[in-house]
């Protein structure tokens, strides 16, 4: 226990700037793992605040926002070192966070409080607060920044909200426990149907399901390759990652990813896929050329959001 105590106290020391920093949020430990991407070692584990789940870069790329759902705050972190720069309190239960493509709106979904908050991104001032059916979860934006689409996990549906007015445009059932949602280049939505083994392609105009594509049990989240040539789907129950052709949505291959893969990120050179393994307190590093598991990195409990910083 003493070692644990000592570790908890000493890890609060800020780390120096690093190349290829990887940051992982340990949602059950209230901590942030700072990992060296090049030698795949955890350098430090820093207390960050309550229930950190997701993280994203600010539109200008200067800060990494860590959303502390339990702490009701955003923490602005140096993306290259993991050093904490400032905290923005009074952001209620920011479980998932997202900026609209035009960087005008900042949206938070609160799966604990069952609501969606739409902020004016310039000053993080609240524009609209919407009460939702249970567990609003992931989000995707229309390319023109007019609408946000949010999965409502406990009511098996997706809701479309007009960002400027805060009005709900439609709510449609899409399948059991929908989670991740992503806008395809063709302008349709794809949704990970976690309570089943498929993703659903959804029409953003009215929310009707166009078709379903089988990926793996517990289809959860999406990550598109930067070159637009592949779409990755994590399957939480099957512990696999499906690789899809984004144009046709057909499954090209399936990769094993132990530990219930959740969020994903690419290594800066694009040759590796890093995925958080929620159930095993580890990060999986997968070689994209071969699909082989190159290694696992032990981190804190229930690792969720992951960010890989490119060398600057």
């Amino acid at each position: 226990m003493l070692r644990l105590l000592a570790l908890l106290v000493t890890v609060a020391v800020p780390v120096s700037a690093l190349a290829n920093t990887v940051i992982v949020l340990n949602s059950d430990d209230d901590s942030m793992s700072v990992i060296s991407g090049s030698d795949r070692k955890e350098l430090s584990r820093v207390p960050i605040g309550r229930a950190p789940h997701h993280l994203m870069l600010t539109p200008d790329g200067q800060d990494l926002i860590v959303a502390n759902a339990g702490g009701n705050e955003l923490v602005f972190v140096d993306p290259s070192s993991g050093a904490i720069r400032r905290r923005l309190p009074k952001i209620a239960d920011p479980y998932q966070v997202g900026f609209s493509p035009d960087a005008k709106w900042f949206v938070t979904t609160s799966d604990r409080l069952d609501r969606v908050d739409i902020y004016d991104a310039a000053g993080f001032t609240l524009a609209h607060r919407l009460s939702m059916p249970r567990m609003p979860s992931h989000m995707a934006f229309a390319p023109d920044s007019s609408r946000v689409f949010i999965t409502l996990q406990a009511t098996d549906s997706v809701v479309a909200i007009d960002l400027a007015s805060g009005n709900v445009l439609w709510t449609q059932p899409v399948g059991p426990q929908p989670a991740g949602i992503w806008m395809t280049p063709a302008g349709t939505l794809v949704v990970g149907i976690m309570g089943s083994n498929h993703i659903a392609e959804v029409d953003p105009a009215d929310g009707h399901v166009i078709r379903t594509v089988e990926t793996g049990r517990g289809a959860h989240n999406f990550l598109a390759a930067p070159d637009g040539k592949a779409l990755y789907v994590s399957n939480r129950v099957a512990s696999t990652i499906s690789v899809l052709d984004p144009a046709t949505l057909s499954v090209v291959r399936t990769i094993s990813a132990p530990g219930g893969p959740d969020d994903m990120a690419f290594s800066p050179d694009g040759t590796e896929l890093w995925a958080t393994g929620r159930w095993r307190s580890q990060v999986d590093v997968i070689d994209l050329a071969t699909g082989a598991l190159k290694g696992t990195i032990p981190v804190g409990r229930s690792p969720h959001g992951i960010y890989v910083d490119a060398a600057r």
């Binding site: 207390p47 309550r50 406990a154 059991p176 309570g195 517990g218 095993r280």
Partner: protein, 330 residues
Amino acid sequence: MIDDLLHRLGLLQGWIFETAILPLLYAFGLMDYADDVFDWMWVMMFGGVAVIVAYLVCRPLELWRPVEPRGDRKAIRTDVTYTLVHRLGLIPLIVFVILAPAGYAIDRALMFRGIMPEAIDQYVPALADWPLVTLAIYIVILDFAEYWRHRLQHRLRWWWALHSLHHDQRQMTLWTDDRNHILDDVLQSVWLGAIALLIGVEPAQFPVIIILLRLVESLSHANVRLGFGRVGSWFLVSPQFHRVHHSLDHAGPPFDRAGGCNFAVILPLWDMIFGTYKPDRSFPPTGIRSKTARWAGLGYLQHQIEGFRRLFRALKPRRRSPGPVVEPGE
């Protein structure tokens, strides 16, 4: 070593979850609860670890310097049943099914109106980087709350009716701590849960608190001739300190003022501050005078029924009488 052990325990949990629990949640359409079930499974595993740690620490001490021989094994078996049923099953269930959703509902109602309850480490931002100091503050606050809950258990007639089950035991061992009526456990969970919500204890911090409380409480009930001396008695409840609380002379009615003493759970300081400390260095026999050893030897279910019977009697309207206070259950 400890962090390595915790990591391995986490891997074991992950393996059980992935192979046995998650497929079930998936099959029954309960994937919404996957994260919650995963978290609470950890709390339950910690409960199990806490029991094992307490046993490994206390049992050798009991063998080393017992206060009294282990005579009534049937009564001890009842206490072991209490530990297994309540600690590993009922209490996590109460917290998971009743308290957590209630807490969420309150949070939801408050926060929709823009009221955002802040946790202690948010009032004092410097604490955010010192999780252990925050944890220590939480433990002191919760222990203070436990002191007063315990005082009320002895003060209020109906609550003593339930709590007297705990004091029936004449053969105190490391297992005795869990001998509590189920209603008493529900009350404790609500009490601690409400305070934890108020001061903002993060559920993830509970496992450490559970293990610490568990160890101190098991040790304080252990059958071991052990005191912590004049100085130590200021800081931690010892088996000797708590044995005086359980003594035949102090546990009975009329409740906490006339004779009751040493109510603290972890920090004896509360008894010293509020005038209930008894600087007695003896190891007296324990139990309630009016209750023979037979009561302690009842099986688990019989004992629970007996608790309801005592509660019913305590709640029954009494005729006004100038005579002495009659203990419920007699």
